[in-house]
């Protein structure tokens, strides 16, 4: 059949062209209703990237004039979005041109959904920031531009949209361009990055300067938005940084093979390269780079591979394999920028879980250096960060981790915070510096701080509830005394406390505030000991003192009450 042989012939060329294309990820940003989804819909439509049945399904619907397709409906895929005419969560769309493949994240502009904008921007190489020509630069435009800069989205394209409503007037465009350039300059000063922005006047609805040029704006002779997207330089940053591979899993199918599986976060690895395993710092050489498709001589970020080393090292999930000549920093204190994303504000007395590369470590936010006002980018002192606010904090990790500054390495400098009570992701973080254990100026006559007590006593204030035989409780108390913990033992069944349970809780809380570890004990006849801290409960059946004591210590490590420098199991 003619058609078949014809296609077979051209398919070869087609596949060749396809494999020569690179990939650019970009996300939209800007205030609510400034036309982000419309712009993406228009981009897809004008590049023939939507199927006919998809266009048919939105014809005659939406917010636009009769006969005019509401392009936002191509991406606003949830019912609530179509009903409310706004975007709620990120939509991912895919298209390609002759030169490039694109992954688009169309994000919501509404302030309430800022976390979803950050979700879309976190993996983007470029941000298309929209500004409504009739409204100018709004606070939300600044917030999104700021978040994009914090996340180090490399390229910023500014689309001044709805030019049709502004009479396609050049002076409107130029004014917004000036305003936004000064916003970007402020952001650069704050984040220490320089963003080079390109400005395009567009009408998403009418299609001016999206894919094609614009007859209505002869004064603009620059490239259309698509031309700009096609010409942005592809990122080579991840391959240029030193080698990093977080270990996701140890593969040990039989006793002859032991490989460390992970996705290369940055850099290049070659057979024979000297590496270090962090945080232990032990070194080895790469013996094999194993993949299903055969061994490789060399592998680059972001490939997923399995490394075999020339000697036995105790490496497990969460460890970082790094270039021996340029290893990462190992520390348990760091400074980081945080974007807070949860209804419940940041609570410095609570333990969060920090997920970074392939491990999860308990963490406290020990101080808030400042919160950034989004409208002026001024720094202000703050006790907490609430939903959508952005600030710089000091982190105290309960186990040291290997990391790089986010500015130098997105993969080893980024983390999220998880609230262990609700299990939700409450913040996105970017590490900016290592902090010394006893950093911060101390007032020689000021109050003793939480950090100072922790440093001296090796634990935080807290309550350990113990129920079981007296001998075991005594053993636990003694073991804590032995490591220098400052404890206070309260008998839960004693007359004073039994009479008033609230009083017991109050006393325990006050003591915890002063850094004491309160043992709230209840003596029982039975052989088992139940211990509870920070909502985690264990029961140890065995009567062996050593076993019981070590189980309780492990519990306290896990709860974040005891601070250890060695690796405790999470």
């Amino acid at each position: 059949m003619v058609a078949s042989t014809l296609s077979e012939f051209s398919i070869h060329d087609f596949l060749g062209q396809e494999s020569a294309k690179d990939l650019l990820r970009f996300s939209t940003a800007g205030s609510v209703d400034d036309g982000k989804s419309t712009l993406i819909g228009r981009l897809l439509y004008d590049t023939q990237s939507v199927y006919e049945d998809q266009v048919r399904s939105i014809e005659g619907k939406g917010t636009t004039a009769p006969g005019q397709i509401d392009f936002a409906l191509l991406t606003d895929g949830l019912r609530a979005e179509r009903e409310q005419g706004i975007t709620i969560d990120v939509a991912y769309r895919y298209f390609s041109t002759a030169r490039r493949k694109f992954i688009i994240a169309d994000t919501p502009g509404h302030e309430q959904y800022t976390r979803n904008m950050a979700t879309g921007a976190s993996t983007a190489d470029a941000a298309v920031v929209l500004i409504d020509a009739t409204k100018g630069v709004l606070v939300q435009s600044r917030r999104h531009a700021y978040i994009a800069a914090l996340l180090r989205v490399q390229h910023v394209l500014v689309a001044v949209n709805k030019m049709d409503l502004a009479g396609y007037d050049e002076s409107v465009f130029r004014t917004i361009e000036q305003d936004f350039l000064s916003v970007l300059a402020q952001i650069s000063a704050d984040t220490g990055t320089t963003t080079e922005a390109r400005f395009v006047p567009v009408s998403a609805l009418a299609g001016d300067n999206i894919v094609h040029g614009s007859r209505a704006m002869p004064w603009y002779t620059g490239p259309s938005l698509l031309e700009l997207l096609e010409s942005l330089p592809a990122s080579q940053e991840v391959q240029a940084a030193p080698f990093r591979m977080p270990v996701q899993r140890v593969l040990r199918p039989d006793h002859t093979f032991r490989g460390f599986a992970g996705q290369i976060g940055s850099g290049v690895v070659r057979v024979g390269d000297a590496i270090v395993a962090l945080p232990s710092g032990k070194s080895a050489k790469v013996e094999r780079i194993v993949t299903w498709d055969g061994d490789l001589e060399e592998a680059v970020a972001p490939l997923s591979v399995t490394l075999v080393l020339d000697r036995e090292l105790d490496i497990s999930r969460g460890d970082l394999i790094a270039s021996a000549s340029a290893p990462a920093t190992v520390a348990n204190r760091a400074r980081a920028a945080l974007v807070w994303m949860d209804q419940r504000p940041l609570d410095r007395s609570r333990r969060y879980l920090l997920k970074h590369t392939s491990h999860t470590v308990p963490v406290f936010v020990s101080s808030i250096e400042h919160r950034t006002r989004v409208d002026t980018l001024a720094h202000e002192p703050a006790e907490t960060l609430d939903m959508n606010s952005i600030g710089v904090v000091a982190l105290h990790l309960l186990r040291p981790i290997a990391f790089d500054r986010y500015a130098e390495n997105r993969s080893t400098g980024a983390f999220i915070l998880i609230d262990p009570a609700t299990n939700t992701t409450v913040a996105a973080g970017m590490i900016s510096a290592v902090l010394d254990a006893d950093s911060g100026e101390q007032d020689p006559w000021g109050p003793v701080t939480v950090g100072e007590r922790e440093a001296r006593w090796g634990h935080r204030g807290g309550v350990l509830e113990l129920a079981g035989p007296k001998a075991l409780i005594d053993a636990v108390e003694r073991s804590l005394f032995a490591i220098g913990a400052v404890t206070s033992r309260m008998d839960a069944d004693g007359d004073a406390l039994r009479a008033d349970e609230d009083l017991a809780a109050l006393v325990a809380a006050l003591q915890a505030d002063s850094g004491l570890l309160t043992l709230l004990v209840r003596t029982e006849e039975s052989g088992a000991l139940t211990a509870k801290a920070e909502g985690v409960e264990i029961t140890v059946e065995d009567g062996d003192f050593l076993r019981v004591v070590s189980a309780v210590h492990q519990l306290l490590h896990r709860a974040g009450t005891l601070i250890s420098t060695e690796k405790a199991h999470l």
Partner: protein, 317 residues
């Protein structure tokens, strides 16, 4: 004070760097393998939903790659509605044997015995019983806390909104208005007992990527994807496979039509398309010329506006 303090010299790039070109298929593969390994390491009881189609075939190959030279460390689960094409079942069993994975099959037997089908009920209720209910029962029965699915964001508008780790409550339901933020490749695997995560390692793959990968990697797929003379009920533009008797209208006779399936579902609800594509390159060439989406031939997605979203809220994949 700048957020980022300038400290130089922490990292110096290697001097002899020649940036390597990585094709987009390799990038997608690396991302999917990362997701597969993350889930296998962070969840206690993961399972891979294996639906026998092209996406499942790709996902299975990626799982082989992710844990090589070790075996795939989780079982496969097929939710069988009883209406799958017979070629699919034979292919499924052969495939599971050849990759050495454990295969679990789950059917909603009471509903099947009660004669549930999309003609007696509507497609939505039929899907609800034979797919969603069966899936939820299976996940609960085996206490799986994470389930991989081969869905892609480019398939459908509401899928385009879904996270890679899609959180589901006790009843397996999706709350699209309140998804967890998902930043970088740092996935939050924390769930309370009874809650679970559906994981989509192929989130960022398109239909074209899937076929190109199948081609490049020589991945076996069910024969139904390739054009052949097949008996079909012809109704206007629609071609309905004759697999089940109840599909036929009174007096309706099948005709031989050169056709193939673009997407594999249950035989009563999956229309075939007229096609001459006999090889994978043919399929790719055909794909370039397509003017409608791959799910256009699936009855279930079109019952009403937003029907996929409704089904997903109820616990469907």
């Amino acid at each position: 004070m700048p957020v980022v303090t300038q400290e130089s010299g922490l990292n110096t790039p290697p001097a002899n760097l020649v940036p390597a070109r990585i094709t987009h298929l390799r990038l997608l593969e690396a991302e999917s393998i990362h997701i597969l390994r993350e889930v296998a390491s962070e969840f206690e009881r993961p399972v891979m939903l294996y639906s026998i189609g092209k996406d499942s075939s790709v996902m299975l190959r990626l799982a082989q790659k992710a844990f090589f030279p070790g075996p795939i460390p989780f079982p496969l689960l097929h939710v069988d509605t009883g209406f799958k094409f017979h070629e699919m079942i034979a292919f499924r069993d052969a495939m599971a044997r050849s990759v050495g994975a454990k295969l679990l099959v789950w059917r909603n037997e009471p509903a099947i015995a009660a004669g549930t089908n999309p003609i007696v009920l509507d497609t939505r209720r039929c899907c609800g019983l034979l797919k969603t209910q069966a899936l939820l029962d299976a996940l609960r029965h085996y206490k799986f806390d994470a389930a991989f699915g081969g869905a892609r964001r480019d398939e459908e508008k509401s899928r385009a909104k879904e996270r890679v780790y899609s959180f589901r409550d006790h009843a397996g339901q999706w709350d699209p208005k309140n998804q967890r933020p998902e930043l970088w490749n740092l996935y939050n695997a924390h769930v309370h007992p009874g809650e679970s995560i559906r994981v989509f390692p192929l989130s960022n793959w398109t239909e074209m990527d899937v076929w190109q990968y199948i081609h490049a990697e020589n991945i076996p797929v069910v024969d139904l994807y390739f054009a052949k003379e097949r008996p079909m009920y012809v109704r206007g533009d629609a071609l309905l496979p004759i697999e089940q008797d109840f599909v036929a209208r009174p007096g309706e006779k099948p005709q031989m039509v050169k056709s193939r399936l673009r997407s594999l579902g249950c035989s009563p609800c999956t229309g075939a398309i007229r096609s001459d594509a006999e090889t994978i390159p043919d399929i790719i060439a055909e794909l370039i010329s397509f003017r409608s989406s791959e799910r256009a031939n699936r009855a279930i997605d079109h019952d009403q506006e937003g029907s996929m979203e409704i089904k997903k809220r109820e616990g469907y994949f």
